[in-house]
């Protein structure tokens, strides 16, 4: 990244001061590319280190030496690890993630479908849970240490303590087995109308909302409370500013950073960490796809999934940092 110091004009201020955000974004993007490369090496090495190679695990208990040898020869698995990694990398940077070793299908095509499903579920859970969490957090602050705050706290603690599969099972038991109002399983497939899709994912969405809501809500509450108790809020109040104005002008910008951070973490979890929910609700998302691939060491698929997961995390964290910077005057104008 030498775009920064190309500027040889001594009279002008360095780029970093003139376009702080642009430079920051470019720096972050460069760092992300490096991180992704590191991740791909880690995953490749990790899968290699697992006991048994693809040929053995794919054939499982029914592996004969002859069949194992045939598969190894076909995929060139007997070549050294570095050769295989760089071959994969060479194709990947050109956007070719190859074919799944197990099914022979194009990885990009398969992932396109699965990632779409995962994002759809995550998006539905996010648009419900984020506003709800922030709203409830504010509500809790407003009624601090009074009945509504207590209730919100108890419920959110309970939701955090229950494992997600258990929440899922409870919802299935009540809403589809007992009352028959929600659809189960949540399997989505091509040719479903949008309405059908929405009704299919109602229960997994509800489960995810319950899982992430509590965490975000508690963080929101804590962030606002900590800002409210700071010295400058007291000053603002003593200056005679109205309560509304103090919160908007002084409290909110400083509370946004921690809230956005925790929201970003939870959004990443909604895309990356929902394997259990996918299994319970029979939902064809990315997590299940990657687990299936790791089970048989289907390297092209594992690599592609791993990179996408890493990219989701990196991107969301970057966006969270940028929002925090833009929102916070102190960071926007660094001295």
């Amino acid at each position: 990244m030498n775009t920064v110091m190309e500027d040889g004009e001594p009279r002008r201020r360095p780029l970093k001061q003139r376009y702080p955000l642009t430079v920051l974004i470019l720096q972050r993007l460069g760092l992300s590319a490096g991180l992704l490369l590191a991740v791909s090496i880690l995953i490749f090495g990790g899968v290699e280190a697992l006991p048994g190679d693809f040929a053995q695990t794919y054939l499982g208990q029914s592996a004969t030496p002859q069949a194992v040898a045939n598969i190894r020869a076909q995929l060139g698995l007997e070549r050294p690890i570095t050769t295989r990694y760089f071959e994969w990398l060479g194709n990947a940077v050109q956007g070719d993630f190859g074919k799944s070793w197990a099914s022979g299908n194009s990885v990009s095509e398969q992932i396109g479908k699965r990632l779409g499903n995962s994002l759809f579920l995550a998006f539905c859970a996010a648009i419900i849970s984020v506003p709800l969490a922030v709203g409830l957090g504010m509500l809790a602050v407003h009624f601090r240490n009074r009945i509504p705050d207590r209730i919100i706290n108890i419920i959110s603690l309970a939701a955090i303590s229950l494992p997600e599969f258990f929440i899922g099972y409870l919802l299935i038991l009540f809403f589809s087995v007992k009352f028959g109002v929600a659809s189960f399983p949540a399997t989505v497939y091509d040719g479903m109308s949008f309405g059908e899709r929405l009704s299919a994912i109602a229960l997994p969405t509800a489960t995810l909302v319950l899982v992430v809501l509590a965490h975000m809500m508690r963080m929101t509450r804590a962030a606002i409370i900590s800002v409210m108790s700071s010295a400058y809020m007291e000053t603002a109040e003593l200056k005679g500013l109205g309560a509304f104005k103090t919160i908007i002008k002084h409290a909110a910008p400083n509370a946004i950073a921690p809230i956005v951070n925790v929201v970003a973490l939870n959004l990443a979890y909604l895309v990356v960490g929902v394997v259990v929910v996918e299994v319970v609700f029979v939902y064809p998302g990315m997590g299940q796809y990657m687990v299936d691939a790791v089970t048989v060491r289907d390297m092209p698929v594992v690599q592609a999934c791993g990179l996408i997961f890493a990219a989701v995390y990196i991107l969301l964290n970057m966006v969270a940092d940028l929002i925090a910077i833009v929102a916070n005057p102190k960071l926007r104008h660094p001295r």
């Binding site: 499982g60 299935i172 497939y189 048989v296």
Partner: protein
């Protein structure tokens, strides 16, 4: 309809007499398993009434994965096994109750006197789903694709003894290195689906001669089918359309069945089967099979190279408790040889080995072994394998034998522990014939000889029995082989597991097939939906 059959049908309808009760009482009355099973099925079919056509059948099945592939040669999951049965046919099928070879795409066959050359007549007037007529050429090409040296077919191992596959006019001729009286049964293997052009062009097309046409397939997620209107058989494929959904979570399967979202689920956990029974509209389908759960010792590795120690460990196994605790009663005790009464030519009258701490103590002392014995296990070996190992440790302790358990990771268990380490837990599915079961795991040269049982006299007996067409002589040989494995082998076989599936009560005509799980994979083509 004979009178006892009428009576029995009446009892099934009026008292809901279930298969398990019936089998127990009729076998106690001295009926063979196959006869009892077939009688019950006939009566149950009569109780189910005439097949009804139409409707949309939904199955929720465990065992599918995103890495599955449609090519029957590479089929190895429970899901693709049942899926391929819907669209494809094999040359031969096995009879659901006695396991004998029955015609399918091959309508008849005969062999040379020494059973080393076989001629099959291929059925005429059969059409593939794409409208192409089935010819001898398709059959030959299919078998070539599975027996080719470079083949990755799962059937490669069982077809090893074939030297030549060729067309003789309209007939198929198969030559073998040695006589094999069971060859037709080998062709029932689920990988050997006959495909147009043998699947050489596109093995994943999913085009065959089966009762249903494959409409859509999303690996690890779902498959849908519609009825094949040109089916060459009228006694199958009763529903208009089939939907198979991959459900790898046991609780999800139970929820889907009890909320009426699917008609049928497989792999019901024996631990929860009694809870599921309480659900209205749910029927538990229990089928005796040939699969078995095993503890295997390598006969050539110390300390297991001593037969007294092996016997001590066999007597230290409490089989009844295993069946009760690990299988919740959904299974039968085993007798340390891999064959049960569902096989043709089953050797009757071999004494059942029982838990006997005194005998175990005696042989253990005699073996001169001292200290603990290391057993490796993991729950991938079979459901409940870790619990079974702990239970075994307890019963062995009473005989003064100290078993140390090492729990291995499930990941890589089949490549690093099973068939590698000297003492471990494992499972075996059944095989169509005794010959195949023994050839797969007890022949000296077998790849999967996971007890390292290497005996020249046993090998010789096996090969002689294979080509023997006189059934009485053959049965005698199988008895000798069973005794050898039971008394001198490295196999501890506490139990044969039943297949436990469940269905909605609207689902009728389910056939209990000893061949394999899920009515030998044919569930969708054999059942119909009432109301």
């Amino acid at each position: 309809m004979t009178d006892p059959l009428k009576h029995l049908t009446g009892r099934i309808i009026s008292h809901g007499l279930n298969r398990r009760e019936f089998m127990a009482s009729s076998m106690a009355a001295g009926m063979t398993l196959a006869a009892a099973s077939s009688l019950y099925s006939k009566a149950a079919k009569a109780a189910d009434g005439e097949p009804k056509r139409g409707g949309h059948l939904k199955l929720g099945l465990e065992g599918g994965s995103a890495t599955d592939i449609l090519d029957p040669a590479k089929s190895q999951s429970q899901f693709t096994f049942a899926l391929n049965r819907n669209w494809g046919d094999t040359l031969v099928e096995s009879h659901p109750h006695d396991g004998t070879a029955v015609p399918s795409l091959a309508e008849s066959w005969e062999s040379s006197a020494d059973a080393s050359t076989w001629t099959f007549k291929i059925r005429k007037g059969v059409q593939f789903h794409n409208g192409k007529e089935l010819t001898i050429d398709d059959v030959v090409k299919t078998l070539h694709r599975h027996t080719d040296e470079k083949s990755e077919s799962g059937a490669l191992g069982i077809l090893k003894s074939i030297t030549e596959i060729k067309a003789d006019g309209e007939d198929l001729v198969i030559s073998l290195t040695e006589g094999n009286a069971d060859l037709p049964l080998l062709l029932t293997d689920y990988h050997l689906v006959i495909q147009p052009d043998g699947g050489t062009e596109n093995p994943n097309a999913g085009i065959g001669t089966g009762p249903y046409k494959l409409k859509s397939y999303d690996a690890g997620v779902r498959a849908t089918f519609e009825k094949n209107e040109n089916d060459w058989r009228s006694d199958r494929g009763y529903v208009d359309s089939v939907e198979m959904i991959v459900m790898n979570d046991a609780t999800a399967r139970v929820a889907a069945l009890s909320s009426g979202q699917v008609h049928y689920i497989n792999r019901v956990d024996p631990k929860t089967v009694n809870l599921l029974k309480r659900a209205p509209m749910v029927e538990i389908l229990q089928t005796s099979g040939r699969g078995h759960y095993v503890f295997i010792m390598h006969c050539d590795t110390p300390p297991f190279d001593n037969n007294d120690l092996r016997l001590a460990l066999k007597y230290a196994m409490d089989r009844e408790t295993m069946v009760q605790k690990i299988l919740s009663g959904y299974g039968k005790v085993g007798n340390d040889f891999p064959i049960n009464e569902t096989y043709a030519l089953f050797p009757e009258g071999i004494e059942q080995r029982t838990y006997d701490p005194d005998k175990a103590k005696f042989h253990y002392k005699k073996s001169g072994h001292d200290g603990s014995v290391l057993l490796r296990t993991s729950d991938v070996a079979f459901p409940g394998a870790v619990d079974a190992a702990v239970l075994y440790q307890q019963t062995a302790k009473k005989a003064g034998i100290d078993i140390e358990i090492k729990r291995e990771p499930g990941d890589g268990y089949w490549s690093n522990v099973w068939n590698v380490k000297p003492f471990s837990t494992s499972y075996w599915g059944g095989r169509p014939t005794q010959d195949q079961m023994y050839s797969t795991a007890y022949l000296s040269s077998a790849d999967w000889n996971d007890t390292r049982f290497k005996r020249k006299d046993f090998d010789k007996l096996l090969l002689t029995a294979r080509a023997e067409l006189d059934q009485a002589k053959r049965k005698e040989m199988y008895r000798d082989m069973a005794l050898m494995v039971r008394n001198e082998g490295g196999l501890i076989l506490p139990m044969f597991n039943d297949f436990v599936n469940a269905s909605n009560k609207k689902l009728k005509g389910y056939v209990h097939d000893i061949g394999n799980d899920m009515s030998n994979g044919y569930v969708a083509s054999r059942v119909w939906i009432e109301g």
